[in-house]
């Protein structure tokens, strides 16, 4: 179980219809790769965010599969076209089954 996980998102508050906006996301997470050993020589179990999705008004914008060896606190930046006012919904899926969610509205 990863502790201290906190998602952060930066989305412009407003845009014109049809505009391409830049979205920045960051989630604090240790991203334990599963390759490391502890001081007793036992493998430290893998614990990573394995999937990230962003939806806008129910329509998928991006769906990312994350693999081990992505660094701590993964930062993802991408662009999206805003056709209308609505809400961006962000979801991170943890190896331990936890799901972290964040939503940001945008006006046109």
């Amino acid at each position: 179980m990863a502790s201290g996980v906190k998602p952060r998102v930066k989305v412009p508050k407003t845009a014109s219809a049809g505009d391409t906006i830049t979205i920045k996301t960051l989630i604090s997470h240790p991203m334990e790769s599963g390759q490391r050993k502890d001081s007793d020589g036992n493998l430290v179990p893998r614990s990573i965010i394995n999937r990230f999705t962003c939806d806008f008004n129910g329509e998928n914008v991006i769906d990312v599969t994350l693999e081990p060896s992505i660094s701590t606190n993964p930062y993802l930046q991408f662009e999206a076209v805003v056709p209308e006012a609505g809400e961006f919904k962000f979801t991170w899926y943890d190896d331990d089954g936890s799901v972290y969610e964040e939503a940001k509205p945008i006006t046109v």
């Binding site: 906190k6 952060r8 930066k10 920045k24 960051l26 604090s28 660094s71 701590t72 606190n73």
Partner: protein, 286 residues
């Protein structure tokens, strides 16, 4: 044929562009640092009168690459802000036998605005110069009746980053006279003393040779106005004393430890060399 020629030209231009970008990847020392598009930071100003070896003082930010610099220009991009957020969590969390949190006495972290510019400073009750870490631990042991934090423990780094962050943009102004003067003199003496097998003083690199390279390292003036800083190579915050230790170790000397009276004196002296530069806490460095 025509197509091939134009491709070649395009490629040539791209290469030329790459070379130009390579030479300008080091920032101009006159670049201006504005954080979040609103907080203007003084990264270059006249040296204080007591610094004899320098005319102009420059923040470490002016020595870094454009990529590293840009990380500090927006709080979302600044990896250290995660730790500042964690600092807010422990600010509000009760700890120790007294069941108090920082917030119970000090309310908002904003009540700490301006404090970072004055530290380290003379503590009349203790009869010595204190750094922020010492004030935090005094609060923890005396008022909260909690365990003190280690100097470079994560909660301590998070808290010094949070408190320092409240003063971001304000110019450093530590006092060097009055009761603190003897400690300041001790720090100055250390700054100009050669240490270790390599016989290097702080001044050899950070006063005589700043802006030059020591192998692959681009030497700065060793200013502390951004501490605790986020170091990319450690992916964490680093306290000033930890950095001092690294420097002295690199001269192949036995170092002092974090929190030692020697490092407190050195911290005061080095901070005074940056009087006039804005606090940048938490800065991003490599």
């Amino acid at each position: 044929m025509a197509l091939a020629t134009s491709t070649k030209i395009a490629l040539g231009l791209a290469l030329a562009g790459g070379v130009a970008a390579g030479t300008t990847a080091w920032a101009d020392e006159d670049d201006i640092l504005v954080i979040n598009g609103e907080t203007e930071i003084i990264t270059k100003t006249d040296a204080p009168a007591h610094v004899e070896g320098l005319d102009t003082i420059r923040s470490g930010w002016t020595f870094r690459t454009v990529e590293t610099q840009s990380l500090q220009m927006d709080d979302f991009d600044n990896p250290a802000m995660i730790f500042v957020d964690q600092g807010i969590d422990s600010w509000n969390a009760a700890d120790g036998a007294a069941g108090k949190s920082c917030a119970d006495c000090h309310e908002d972290p904003e009540s700490m605005t301006g404090l970072r510019t004055k530290l380290p400073k003379w503590n009349e009750a203790a009869g010595e110069v204190w750094t922020m870490e010492m004030y935090i631990n005094a609060c923890r042991t005396e008022r909260m009746e909690a365990e003190p934090w280690g100097w470079k423990s994560q909660p301590m780094l998070n808290m010094t980053a949070l408190i320092g962050n409240q003063s971001r943009g304000l110019p450093m102004a530590v006092e060097i006279d009055g009761p603190a003067q003897a400690t300041w003199e001790q720090g100055k003496e250390m700054y100009y003393t050669r240490y270790g097998q390599l016989e290097l003083s702080c001044a050899n690199c950070h006063e005589d040779n700043y802006d030059n390279y020591i192998r692959a390292d681009h030497l700065s003036q060793g200013q502390t106005n951004g501490f605790p800083v986020y170091r990319l190579k450690q992916a964490n915050l680093i306290a000033a004393h930890n950095r001092f230790k690294g420097c002295i170790r690199d001269t192949r000397a036995e170092t002092y430890s974090e929190g030692s009276p020697e490092f407190v004196a050195l911290e005061l002296y080095v901070a005074s060399r940056g009087n006039g530069l804005s606090v940048e806490t938490p800065a991003v460095r490599n």
